[in-house]
């Protein structure tokens, strides 16, 4: 009976599952990389910081964001607005606010560190905040911006990351089960070539331009003196600023919002490695962090029954496999206890004394207000003491 339910469970799950493997989506991570330095690459840092702000606003906490920046804009001597970074000439949002946590800054943003972050192979002394501690249920957003070209990405004017390096790293990640789904977003010139070599399943990639096309900056801020944002990121932000944490806009609507005429390049995305339909995947699966909570009454499991107290509330339609799993779990438990109860009952029916005890047990369980009964009994006891001590 138990085996049959397991098989049925698995079948149901495999039909309803949204990705190839049967893991549950546990958490969301974001790796945001700005690969440029120097003042004239202000816009790249503004790009990354804008994404950082969006991703934080939609729910991913700092401990699950790895931010890699050259970080030489805000306190640059050329910055008219010290300690402030803007992504728009209206200067409405200061991206370099109070709670920006940069994990890799300055000369730490290297290809080696980037690959170490992705694959998780660090020296022993690297602190946890600099590690990508994802597990097999994580959704990871990887955003890279800077200067790039045909199948490469320039890192801080000194090195380059090639497309097969990236593909190798992703392959290692898949092998080590470090992600469930990965969204790679690249905003550089000829960005789509960077993910030519990817082969791992569960990866969705979008680049801001095709091979042979450049990605352009959006506008120049005459106050600061440099361009403050790139077009691709600008339109991405325009999409996200309208959202809050509860919206369920799909990835499809995000990808369709890119207009080649406005971007002055073609935003190309590849979905051949990604199974779910883009119209069914909410953007908060990657860009935010919406956790499903299951309400249970008891906090300490040791002495309370899970069956009677646990209630499952599911509102979002997207996490059906998870719901089905837990419902099946509860049904299984109920069946088990029913079986046990049946067995116990058949044993107890032999002895009338234990029948009485079982009845008493049930009655005891039904009594709700135990406290007043106990108090009354104590009072009765004291009365009996006084009466008996005065009589005897």
């Amino acid at each position: 009976m138990k085996n049959l339910t397991l098989v049925v469970m698995l079948l149901c799950y495999s039909f309803a599952s949204s990705s190839g493997d049967s893991t549950i989506h546990t958490n969301n991570w974001a790796v945001l990389v700005c690969t440029s330095r120097f003042w004239f690459n202000y816009r790249h840092m503004a790009n990354t910081l804008s994404l950082y702000r969006t991703v934080k606003r939609l729910g991913i906490p700092d401990e699950r964001i790895i931010l890699m920046l050259a970080d030489d804009m805000a306190c640059n001597s050329r910055n008219q607005y010290p300690a402030q970074v803007f992504n728009n000439e209206n200067h409405q949002i200061n991206l370099y606010g109070d709670n920006v946590e940069v994990d890799y800054r300055g000369y730490e943003v290297t290809v080696e560190n980037f690959l170490r972050v992705l694959t998780g192979r660090h020296e022993n002394a690297v602190p946890r905040s600099k590690r990508l501690l994802s597990d097999e249920g994580s959704h990871i957003l990887l955003y890279m911006t800077g200067h790039g070209g045909d199948e490469f990405l320039k890192f801080q004017d000194a090195e380059e990351l090639q497309s097969h390096d990236l593909a190798d790293a992703v392959k290692q990640m898949k092998e080590k089960r470090r992600f469930k789904e990965l969204l790679i977003m690249v905003d550089t010139c000829q960005a789509a070539t960077l993910f030519n070599q990817l082969q791992s399943p569960g990866v969705l990639a979008i680049g801001s331009s095709l091979k042979g096309e450049n990605s352009y900056s959006h506008h120049l801020d005459s106050d600061i003196g440099v361009s403050v944002v790139d077009r691709f990121t600008y339109y991405t932000l325009a999409f996200f600023e309208r959202l809050n944490i509860y919206d369920n806009a799909s990835l499809n609507s995000l990808f369709r919002s890119y207009d080649p005429r406005q971007l002055m390049s073609t935003a190309y995305y590849r979905t051949d490695l990604y199974q779910p339909h883009l119209s069914e995947v909410p953007v908060t699966n990657f860009f935010g962090s919406v956790m499903e909570t299951i309400h249970t009454d008891s906090a300490y499991h040791a002495f309370s029954s899970r069956i009677s107290n646990s209630k499952i509330k599911s509102d979002t339609p997207f996490n059906q496999p998870f719901n089905q799993l837990s419902e099946q779990d509860v049904k299984e438990d109920l069946q088990n206890t029913n079986n046990q109860n049946d067995e116990l009952k058949t044993e107890k029916q032999k002895c009338p004394y234990s029948e009485m005890r079982a009845d008493l047990h049930e009655k005891l369980k039904k009594i709700e207000n135990v406290d007043t009964m106990v108090n009354l009994s104590i009072a009765v006891m004291i009365l009996v003491v006084m009466v008996s001590s005065s009589l005897l």
Binding site: S298, A299, L364, V370, V374, L392
Partner: protein, 498 residues
């Protein structure tokens, strides 16, 4: 003679009035302390509140119970579930009623609450319970004392030492013991600091009163409740059985056998020792098995009731096994090593795990080893035996507090007639005073200022233990000297009479 009798009757009438004046003034003093001395923080001092007696832990256990979790979850509360249902509702905060007012008033209330830094226990009700427990204990002590005094007088007359049992030289030990209990700074501190030790003391005194006045159900009830609340009064079964079987405290049987030739009165006495001396020439006291069996029966009845009630309260949270593990198991295994005025916390903080069980057994058997020799030596004085047992258990228990000392000091006062010649009494008095004054100082130096360390506080605790040991040893030797002095008096007295 009639004039003397009249005077004595008047004096006796005055004495109860004086007693009640002193008793009520002690209650008044407690009320004054409660209302005006809010900064003493008595309920958070380790001398007053131990993991077993703390009212905060009771409040926490009650809250857990209300949140439908086991009250023993999280290792906060380690007491009886019955106490939880009785005292729990008294610990609920009253701010609920005040939140319905407008925001300013709420702010005000919150500000006031923060300023006072008091317990979120509504003090007045809890204090009423502990004050009531104190008064009741005092009245019961007075009852015990009256009986003991009467017995002392009668025995003295039977031995030919005094002319009348109501001699003026006999001090009213009942009144003295009750007033010592009420005015003892330790008791006052426990009452104001809202620990549950007044209730435990009440149960013990109830047991002793029942045994002394021969009310068997009361004695059984008191003993069962005392054992249920804290484990150690279980050792009082021995003195209680002696009290019920052999009767009240009396000089050894041999003295009565020696004086039976001198005495020829027909007056009845409450001490079966003297009866025995008149009727049979044997040197064995009769043991009233019927009363003892009666007592055992009632004890079983009360234990069954208590077990059933506890099972009822804890039916959803693990039942009796959980209760025993968390109350008695906690007491015996000394899990909590926060400092108190005992000596075990320091030791168990540094003992290796390999030896932990061994030392636990050693320390608990330390109490058990003393029971048998003392019972053999002092079986003619069961009430005094009870006092000694209580003193030893409060010295060697896992989580002692000043409430235990309050109890045995007042029981000591029941024997002022016999212990009048106790040596070192002034030294002990100064010792107790010094230790109790230094203890909060050392605690402050260690915990709050950081200029001292654990050794300061532990040194104080060791000093306290030493004083208690000297106290116990001196009381026992004073009592035995008293018996020896009676023995010496008798042949001389005989010779004089002859």
């Amino acid at each position: 003679m009639t004039k003397d009798d009249g005077e004595m009757v008047e004096e006796q009438k005055k004495k109860p009035c004086r007693f009640w004046i002193w008793a009520l003034s002690s209650v008044l003093f407690r009320l004054i302390l409660i209302s005006y001395a809010g900064n003493l923080n008595l309920s958070s001092r380790p001398e007053v509140s131990t993991p077993l007696t703390s009212i905060r832990r009771l409040a926490e256990g009650y809250w857990l119970k209300q949140a439908s979790m086991s009250p023993y979850a999280g290792s906060m509360y380690h007491g009886s579930p019955l106490l939880l249902s009785l005292l729990g509702p008294l610990t609920v905060q009253r701010l609920v009623a005040e939140t319905s007012s407008n925001d300013l008033k709420l702010c005000f209330n919150l500000v006031e609450f923060k300023k006072e830094d008091t317990l979120d226990v509504s003090g007045s009700k809890g204090n009423q319970v502990t004050s009531f427990a104190d008064i009741l204990s005092a009245i019961l002590l007075r009852g015990i004392g009256k009986k003991l005094q009467m017995a002392y007088g009668l025995n003295a007359r039977l031995l030919g030492l005094l002319k009348s049992p109501r001699d003026k030289g006999i001090l009213p030990c009942g009144d003295i013991a009750a007033l010592v209990y009420l005015w003892n700074p330790f008791t006052i501190v426990c009452c104001v600091g809202l620990s549950t030790s007044p209730i435990e003391n009440l149960a013990v005194i109830l047991a002793l009163n029942g045994a002394v006045t021969r009310r068997v159900p009361l004695a059984a009830f008191g003993l069962v409740m005392a054992t249920h609340l804290s484990l150690y009064p279980a050792i009082l079964t021995i003195p209680v059985i002696f009290l019920l079987g052999y009767g009240l405290d009396a000089p050894p049987l041999k003295l009565f056998l020696q004086t039976r030739n001198v005495e020829s009165g027909n007056r009845s006495s409450t001490s079966s020792a003297s009866k025995q001396a008149k009727s049979k020439p044997t040197a064995q006291l009769p043991f009233l098995w019927k009363t003892v069996v009666h007592f055992v029966f009632w004890a079983l009845v009360w234990s069954l009731c208590v077990m059933v009630l506890c099972r009822l309260s804890l039916s959803k949270h693990g039942g009796l096994e959980e209760m025993f593990k968390r109350t008695y198991g906690f007491i015996l295994s000394i899990e909590d090593l926060s400092p108190n005025i005992g000596v075990f916390w320091y030791f168990f903080a540094e003992v290796f795990d390999f030896f932990r069980n061994f030392f636990l057994i050693v320390f608990h058997v330390n109490i058990l080893f003393m029971l048998l020799p003392l019972a053999i030596r002092l079986k003619h004085r069961p009430c005094f035996l009870a006092f000694i047992y209580l003193a030893i258990s409060s010295l060697l228990k896992s989580y002692p507090s000043v409430g235990d000392s309050a109890l045995y000091l007042s029981l000591w006062a029941l024997f002022v007639n016999e212990l009048a010649d106790m040596k070192f009494s002034f030294f002990l008095f100064c010792g107790y005073l010094g230790v109790s004054l230094l203890s909060p100082v050392m605690h402050n130096l260690w915990i709050w200022r950081g200029t001292g360390n654990a050794n300061f506080y532990f040194g104080n605790a060791i000093g306290y233990a030493c004083f208690q040991i000297v106290f116990v040893v001196e009381s026992v030797s004073a009592m035995l000297n008293h018996d020896r002095a009676l023995k010496k008096c008798n042949p001389n007295h005989q010779k004089v009479k002859n």
